[in-house]
Symmetry: C2
Subunit: 385 residues, 2 copies
Amino acid sequence: MANSVDTLLIPGPIILSEAVQKALDVPSLGHTSPEFISVFQRVLQNTRTVFNSAATSKSQPFVLAGSGTLGWDLFASNFLLSGAPNRNVLVVSTGTFSDRFADCLRNYGAQVDVVGPTKIGESVPQELIAEKLVHKKYGAVTVTHVDTSTAVLSDLKAVSQLIKDISPETFFVVDAVCSIGCEEFKFDDWGVDFALTASQKAIGAPAGLSISLCSSRFMDYALNDRENGQVHGYFSSLRRWAPIMQGYEAGKGAYFATPPVQLINSLDVALREILDEGLTKRWDLHREMSDWFKDSLVNGLQLTSVSRYPSSMSAHGLTAVYVADPPSVIAFLKSHGVVIAGGIHKDIGPKYIRIGHMGVTACNKSLPYVKNCFDLIKLALQRKK
Amino acid sequence: MANSVDTLLIPGPIILSEAVQKALDVPSLGHTSPEFISVFQRVLQNTRTVFNSAATSKSQPFVLAGSGTLGWDLFASNFLLSGAPNRNVLVVSTGTFSDRFADCLRNYGAQVDVVGPTKIGESVPQELIAEKLVHKKYGAVTVTHVDTSTAVLSDLKAVSQLIKDISPETFFVVDAVCSIGCEEFKFDDWGVDFALTASQKAIGAPAGLSISLCSSRFMDYALNDRENGQVHGYFSSLRRWAPIMQGYEAGKGAYFATPPVQLINSLDVALREILDEGLTKRWDLHREMSDWFKDSLVNGLQLTSVSRYPSSMSAHGLTAVYVADPPSVIAFLKSHGVVIAGGIHKDIGPKYIRIGHMGVTACNKSLPYVKNCFDLIKLALQRKK
């Protein structure tokens, strides 16, 4: 049994709060027992709230055994139906994970155009997105809110406005894996049609859950098999899952696949911790920690942030910075019990490090983890001189 | 937080051993940390062993966030490639779960023939299967080792022999969800090409993991994109997962999707408990408990087993018996803190109850759960008279 005492500061999985971790250590529950139904009902309701969507919007949450990667399949397989009217997808790419979403979409038969930034570490200029939208009719536009490979934050509100102005029929799809819980997110206000995240990032739950929210507009499309055809996929079929999720939210057990009862019990605690503190407060706490950390690295140690800093293009749940010798910095921190991540972007991977500061690490001010991490990075760099 | 004190005797999720449950309550691990790699490496090796396959056979295990249902997709999407040479599948059906596997296969474009038993509760006569194999060339035959809807046990060895004799090119596919860990299972000896299970049944781990094993013959087919075409699916693509699983088994971290680190840590303990006791011993313990329970119900209380009893057609991890008024029996047991399940077969669903006796419930003789359950069923039935 692995029980590492290292301080985990990678951009997910993240350190859990004590209560979230304890909520895993429960006996198995029957998946249609009243006890589990009431937990799952609350989880579905709170998922909608954490995405900043009102129950009146009729948005549909999906909480499944899986991961962020499965969330791409959920959108792709339910958008690219056998009779899909428009298979063109514009992928707004700010890094590796945007490109993988494109890869997944192509796999299901999408015609994908990718629009990228002028420079790695920047978000994609609005005028480039607008130009694409003007010249071709896209069935969907995907934006990675925070690309975990570069720590670039995209301006969802601006893209939302472009879609509304130029091509309101286009589905607005957001990979919110590294954003829900740590970045301002407004599902309803921004007219998002499909947003996907995972349990092990800023939501602060254990890895193993794919968490998505669909607009009623996207549900109407995805469930319309007469007009839009069949789904390629079974486990990923929203048609199969919708009655299950609706059943549990209405307080009734239903079965398509056995839900991971312990993980969902733990997610329940994580979501309530976020909502008890308040979404806005939570975003503020992540912003404060992120600003302090980036400022210390950029201004204090004269490091260069991969995501442009200071600017509105930097994420608040993780930091990516160039260092001269990433493996030695990572190894030095590991030797002091702190685990951070290396770079993974295809063009700059070996040149930078990534540090996650999500969930309790950012929000519980009594935890010294990020401060200690900064001190260790400073030491590691001094040692090298 | 739900923390039911009921005794859970449904056919999965099952009661966990103390050590398996405790193994959930660990801090998040980095998914490419040496600590997690060594856990996952052992899990993959032990998975192969629990399916009774030797490392020398080059069979390939896959342990993913998901469920038994995802296992059907794993086979279907990687068998029904865009250029699949033979889309005919023979589904040997002994209940609801066999039929759902058929449903999943059709979803991916298979031409499915279903062959069923003469009577609900029996396995499918060998001569009916042989007749089908003689008259049509099938790309794959699927058998549900134990159909959890009826508690019918299929004779895999006999089907294996039929395939070898009549159509050795045909892939032999086994839904082993309710069998691995509690029924004799010989992946290599029986020439199984794809077997799928889930964590929450007789393996005795928490729900949330899809666990499969592929023969090297099936891997050769599935990975051959030049001849057999593309995969419909991304998260379910064995081509994407194979290098990841091979990496972890070789002691190297790799990434396609974030693995559920706590669940895998818990599965590690569950697999080791099985192997420490010994596979054969484990099967014997399940058989003993099952025989005692079925005998007590059938001979002691004059109830009729859904799966023919005594016969070789009855499963050893669960029992399905007809009772006059299932809801009242289920409610009576629930009022005494014991949770059992109702029937789910489309033709006889409202007429029977199902009781799971897998994992510690069957193997730890100091636990009185199944005995107590019998006493309560007896009381419930006496009360009704």
